[in-house]
Each structure stands twice: as C-alpha cells, then as structure tokens.
Amino acid sequence: MKELTQKQIFDFLSNNGIENFIGVPDSTMKYFIDQGFKRKKVLITTREEEAIGISSGFALSKSNSLVFMQNAGFANSISTITSLVQLYEIPLIFLIGWRGYLKNDAPEHTKIGKIQPNLLKILDLQGKIITDKNWKASCNWALKKLANHESCALIIRRVFL
C-alpha cells in the first residue's frame, strides 16, 4: 500500500474516534505506524497479546483502540481473541499485515499466509481487505462495527517483496 494512503488511514481513524494505536510493528504498514509516532499516539508492545490486553483496558474505559500486527502475531493472538475479546465482547479494530499473500514471499510466511482467511472465518472475526482504492469505505465500515460494540479486522496485503 502507498505511503500516502497509509498516512491518510492513520489520520482518518485518529480523527474519527480511535484514541489508541497499540501493537507490534510490521513493515507492511510502516508508514501507518510512522504517522502514529509523528502524532504521538502509538504504543509498541512486546507481544501482540499484550497489545490486546492493554487495548481491552482502554475499551473497558470507553476509549477506542486499534491493535496492529503482522499475521504471524495474529496467530499468536488467537487464544486472547477467543478468551478475552470475544468472551467479554470487547470492541477493537485489528489491523493485520498479510504476509504470505504473494506465493513467493519468504518461506516463514507461506503457511500462515495461506490459512489466514480461514482463520478469520473460523474465529468469526469479520474482516475486510483495505486497499489504496477502498480505504475510506473500509475504515468507515470498521468504525461502524466499533460503534455497534463489535470487533473487526482490516487486512493489508503485502504486495511487494
């Protein structure tokens, strides 16, 4: 995704009620995170589950959060999603970088990249692929989910190597 789009996504979400951006960095969304640092609104954690825990503390205090991670970290997070986010119905937006989308991506991403769409499906976590073209509509969709107290995922495909 283009640098400009990533920055626009950050600013749009930040201007529309998302107060906290918490997660583990992913190069697929580097410019999104850089923009967050520029705005002093990013918290980097040691693991993805930790980011979900902190965001849940904010959500319980009615402060909206986005949790960002690579799909490797999404795999780490499954138990936290089922036994915290879904168990208590805590609304969060996940932003997930999709490594392994390209067939010739690095080998460590191949398997998780392949099963990711199914993982989201069996977790009942609704997601949308966010692109340079649809970013605003996708953000609005996610914000609406959050307003309805539901969690959802925005997926950024890794389209370069």
Partner: protein, 184 residues
Amino acid sequence: MIRKEAIRLISKEIVDDVIVSANGYISRDLFEVGDKPTNFYMIGSMGLASSIGLGLALQNPKKTIYVFDGDGNILMNLGSLTTISKLKPKNFIHIIFDNSSHESTGGQPTSTNKISIDAIAKAVNFKVFRCNSKKNLDETFKKIKKMSGPIVILVKISKSEKISKRVSLPPKKIKSRFMKSLQS
C-alpha cells in the same frame, strides 16, 4: 499465609478503586472473599491481567488500579513489566502472589523458587516490596497507599488446601457492571 488470607487482607483495604484479577484461583479467591463491581475477573487470557490493568491505569488517572497476579501468570507476560515501566503509571500497583507453582493446574512448579520476580521488577525500575507474613503485608500495604507507582508487591504464599468456587457471574455481566463502576 495462604493466598486467600492475603487477598482478604488486601481487598478489604481497597474500597472504591479497581482490582484486575488473574485467571485461576486468584480470581476465584477474590470472588469469594470480596465480590464487588469494581473487580474485573479475567477468567481467560492467561498472563494478561497486568496489561489490562495498564490500559485501565492510563485511561483512569484518578483511580488506583490494583492488579492481582500470580507467579505463573506474570512469567507468561514478563514483557509487560517493561512496557509498564516505560510508561510509569503512578496509579498502578502490581501485587504478585507467588507460591512457586501453577496451583490451579495441579501444582506444577514455576521457576520462582530459583529466580526472583521482584529482582526482575526492580531491574526495570519498579518500586518493589516483598512480603512473607500477614503482618508484613498489612504494614506494607498501608505504606504503599501513600506512594506513587508503578509498584510491585511480591507476596510469598503457601499452597492452599481448599479451593474457592468458580466465578459464577457471566463474563458479559462482569464487564457491564465493571464498566458502570468506572463511570462513578
């Protein structure tokens, strides 16, 4: 001192402030000795009580957030200590009940009979206290109430004979009454 005695002693001193309790016997004991809407019983997501507590502490600076954690739980999320330390929430009190075992899964040993969690917390700049007796815990707790965080209190406990009942509230109820209590 067993965990339930320690939890009873501390929780009766916490009136309007928040307690986030770790999964397993810690939440069960707290539910049995002092159920209140201001308790958030984390019944799943093992290891994450301190992270949930951090989010709460940052967003609720006028309340003190007490995390009731276990040795097994914090060992699963040691990175959390570094994140908390980086942000230095003054209203964050982390109480770790340490029996050197995973008691709720059958008493398997943790590494805390060989390593000190309080030394780890000290290394990342927490104010650290260690308590081995009820008297000691009582005095320490009264003292830290006047101090600013982040603080770790390591409470050495022995294994319990009796098991407290499960938290019988549905998770959505735990959440809704907790959220309501934060508004007041």
